[in-house]
Structure formats: C-alpha cells, structure tokens
C-alpha cells in the first residue's frame, strides 16, 4: 500500500517536473525572444496563447515518455530501493556507479550492511563504504590516469588557437568537443580493466558519422568564413555537446545479447533511411527552374511531410520494431537511442553538405527559401536539426519502446519460448 502510494507520488512529481520545465522554456522564449506578429490583426497576448497551445503537444509527449520511463524504472529498481533504508539506498547508488570489474566489491559491502543493526551504525558503515568505493584506484594506477589527464589538458589548450587560426568561429567548438572527448578518454582509462578488443560495428558507424559532422563543420566555415557569426559561442558549445554526446553513447552504451543485439542496427538503419529519404526528396524538390506539375507538387508535399513529421517516425518505428523483436522495453529503448545518436550527426552532416551545394547553384537556403546569407544554414541546422528534431522526436522513441513488447505475439505458457519469457511490463 505504502509502495503504491510512493509510486503514485513519484509519477505525479515526474509529470509536474516535466510540465514545469516546459513552462520555464515557454517563459524564457516569450521574454527573451518575443514572437513576431502583425499588430494590425494580432496581439502579443494572442500569439503567446497560440504558442502555449503549440507547446502543449510536445509537453504532453514528454510527460507520457517520462511517466513510462519512471514507471519502468520503478518496477525494476525503484521498488527495491524503496524497500531499503537511506544508508542502503546510498550504497546501492554507489555500487551502481562502480565500473563493472569492481562492482563485486560494492555488492560485498552492500551485503555486509544487511548484517549491521542500528541506524547510526548503518549510516557509519554506509558512509565509510561509499568512501572506499570512491577511492578505488584505477586499474592502470593513479600515475597513468594523471598522465592521461595532463595530455588531454595539453591537447585542449592547443586545440582552441589552432582551430581558430584554421577557420574563424571554430575555436569554441573545437575546445569544447576536444575537452569532452578527452574527458571520455580519462573516464575510460579510469574505469576500463583492459583495452577494448574488437570495436562493435555500430560504434564504428556512429563514430564515422560524428566525424563526418565535424568535418562538414570545418569545411563549411573554411568555405564561408563569414558563417562564423552564425555559430555563436552558445551554439558552438551546444553543437560540441551533442556530437560528443552521440559519440559517448555509441562508445559506452551497454550491449545486449540475444534478440536485443539487433536493436542498435535497427536504430541506425532507421536514421539512414530517414536522412537518405530526405536527401532524395530534397534534391527532387529543388529543381531549377521550378516546375508546376501535379507530380512535382506531390514530391514537394511528400518532402515537406518527410521533413516535418519524419523525425517522429525515425525514432518511433525502430523502437517499436526492436521492442517487438526483443519482446522488451529495454530493446526498444536501445533502438530509439541508437536512432537518435545516428540520426542527429548524419542529418547535420548531410544538411551542411547539401546546403553548400544548393547555395552554390541556386543561391538559396536549404528548406528555408532564398535571400539569406549562406552561413544562416549553420544556425538553422543547429536549431532545427539538433534542437527541434530531438525535442519532438525522442518521446516517440520511448512510446514506441513501450508499445513494441505488447505488439509481439503472446507467448504460450509452457512453450519453449514461454519458459524464458517474462511479462513485457517487467522487462
């Protein structure tokens, strides 16, 4: 009874936090970048009201996604945590943060806590054990870690001026990206037991796509140095965080076995199909001189739908399919995450590539018409490709992952498949 009340309160708090976050976003937008309107026919209050109604859609999607995630987390982990006291929870969190080859020791300390009686004694044991876990030495030793960190700091310090000298506007992006990748290397040295052997194919693919995105940024700024003003520091940092984040997930994501093994490939394939389709439609829609024909109108309409609504599908479909194949929410979520980390940098790189080509031949912006400087493509792809698309699309990955297992054929109890299968609601 108490646990179900805790779960309900947790879900209410989650929904409230998501709504509050979107409300803050709304207030920030209407105060810092007021929406433009025609004073003759509209008022500020009216456009703000319409904007609020527009934001209600993604807000509702994020609330649903957050509730699904928290509910799954509660059924797997939260209910166990709720059954223990605060010292037990502290140790459980510390154990979860340990690298896999040291986790056995954390579990050992957690098990010993069960033998300790008395609140203050349990707190002392938990705090002291947590200290031991925090001080566990890296396998290579502190010296190797310190040397690695020193090399990373030196590379970061050199990257900024070198990049800025090569292409104006590249300095902030380079420093941030190299610093984040360097941090990834330091964490890897601290946590890995041995150098990784074979690098998984899905990691290679996403790393290649992230590299392509970085290269296209450099090419774009070299080809049009004036474009630097369309990559202000905030956007440069955001771009670096997104690209490094995609790389980080591709390197560090936990791997599934069995049916869930295909989830990353399903996600990547969905991203390739969506971006590839967009590329074809983009080229088909931008014929010069413009042609007025039913076929061309159809192509334009399909291109618009593909671009405007496709990002919901590119995350929803792989999550649904992988959840269905793997019969688990986890598989679906993995496919959705891999779709995100493959789609964002791929779409970004292709967008910049096509924008350069289109501007050279037609003098217009990609998707957003004529009469603007070429560099504006850079701010558009960051805003649309890296902000709007994930903001609207990611909840669909969670929703697809939740539906997928239920779409799978029911397992007959007693059958060979049923012997190993569990309820999708608990996986």
């Amino acid at each position: 009874m108490r646990r179900s009340r805790t779960r309900r309160n947790l879900l209410i708090a989650t929904a409230a936090a998501v709504v509050a976050a979107w409300a803050v976003l709304y207030v920030v937008v209407i105060t810092t970048a007021p929406l433009s309107y025609d004073p003759a026919s509209e008022s500020a209050a009216k456009v703000n009201r319409e904007f609020a109604l527009l934001l209600a859609v993604p807000t509702a999607l994020w609330v649903i996604a957050a509730l699904l995630l928290v509910d799954r987390w509660w059924s797997r982990t939260g209910v166990r945590l709720a059954a223990t006291d605060p010292p037990g929870r502290l140790l459980a969190v510390a154990v979860a943060a340990l690298p896999s080859h040291r986790r056995e020791w954390g579990v050992a300390m957690h098990a010993e806590l069960a033998e300790i009686g008395g609140r203050s004694a349990r707190w002392r044991f938990a705090l002291s054990s947590t200290r031991a876990m925090l001080r566990m030495p890296p396998v290579g030793g502190w010296t190797v870690l310190a040397l690695t960190a020193a090399v990373v700091v030196a590379v970061v310090a050199a990257a900024g001026p070198a990049a800025q000298a090569a292409a104006p506007g590249l300095g902030v992006f380079s420093v941030t990206f190299v610093a984040l990748v360097g941090a990834m290397v330091v964490v890897a040295v601290a946590r890995l037991r041995r150098p990784p052997g074979r690098v998984p194919a899905e990691t290679v693919v996403v790393a290649g796509v992230v590299a392509a995105a970085v290269v296209m940024t450099v090419i774009f700024l070299l080809r049009d140095p004036a474009a630097a003003r369309y990559l202000p520091a905030a956007n440069a940092v955001f771009l670096a965080v997104v690209l490094a984040g995609c790389l980080w997930i591709a390197v560090a994501a936990p791997r599934s076995r069995g049916a869930g093994r295909v989830a990353p490939f399903i996600g990547i394939a969905a991203g390739v199909v969506w971006v590839g389709g967009q590329l074809l439609l983009m080229r088909a829609a931008s014929v010069e001189p413009p042609v007025e024909s039913p076929a061309q109108n159809l192509v334009d309409m399909v291109a618009a739908i593909w671009v405007m609504l496709g990002h919901a599908g590119v995350f929803f479909v792989p999550a649904l399919v992988a959840g269905w194949i793997g019969r688990s929410f986890r598989s679906g979520l993995q496919a959705g995450i891999w779709a995100v980390v493959a789609t964002l940098p791929l779409n970004y790189a292709v967008w910049l590539h096509e924008a350069l080509g289109l501007y050279a031949t037609h003098g217009g912006l990609l998707w957003f018409g004529d009469g603007a400087p070429e560099g504006e493509n850079l701010s558009l792809v960051v805003s649309w490709g890296l902000r709007i698309i994930p903001l609207v699309g990611i909840p669909f990955a969670v929703i697809g992952a939740a539906i997928g297992p239920y779409a799978a054929r029911p397992v007959v109890p007693g059958s060979p498949a049923g012997a190993s299968a569990r309820s999708p609601a608990r996986r």
Binding site: W105, H110, E112, R124, F125, S128, A132, P137, V139, G140
Partner: protein
C-alpha cells in the same frame, strides 16, 4: 617479499589475522570488528590483497533467503607464504591511517 613492497601496518595486521585460521572464511564486518577498522579502510586492503592474488574470495550462498549472499575471504597460497614471511619479521607500529598502496 614476493616482489611486493612491504605492506602497511594495517595490511600486515589483516594478513596476520587471516593467517590465524588460514582455512577459515571470514566476513568483511567480522574483520572490521576484529581489527577495529572501518569499511573505508578495510575494503581497500582486501582489494589490494585480492588484486595481487594474496586473497581468495567467494560468495556465501548459504545466507538466509531474506539476506543477500555475503562475500567471504581467506588467504591464498601465496597469501599464506606472505603471512609466514611477515611472521618472521618484527611487527611495525600501526600507522594512524590506511592509504591506497597502488593498484
């Protein structure tokens, strides 16, 4: 000393305590009480010993169903050899604080 640096006073005390009944498995909390060490000091020593093959570890699967399996420890063959070497040398005064001795 098996190519190892001389262990700290607490590590030496731990090895000696484990060597008293070398075949007996010991629990972490039991060793904490016996050596008057906190887990924050005890477990780094156990990990240091285990990383060097001086300690055997196993999970006690005979725990009550409402309790998680506990980790148990005893000296390995080379751990016992180290204990014999330490027994042959005079004991040092315990230092006030245990520190990591490298991985």
């Amino acid at each position: 000393m098996n190519g190892l640096r001389r262990p700290s006073a607490q590590t030496t005390a731990m090895v000696r305590a484990l060597a008293e009944e070398p075949t007996a498995w010991r629990y972490g909390s039991e060793l904490c009480q016996r050596l008057d060490l906190t887990p924050g000091s005890l477990y780094p020593i156990l990990i240091w010993l285990a990383d060097r093959g001086l300690l055997e570890t196993t999970w006690d699967t005979g725990a009550p169903s409402d309790r998680p399996p506990r980790h148990r420890y005893r000296l390995s063959g080379i751990g016992r050899a180290l204990a014999a070497e330490l027994a042959a040398t005079p004991a040092r005064r315990p230092q006030p604080k245990v520190r990591w001795q490298g991985a």
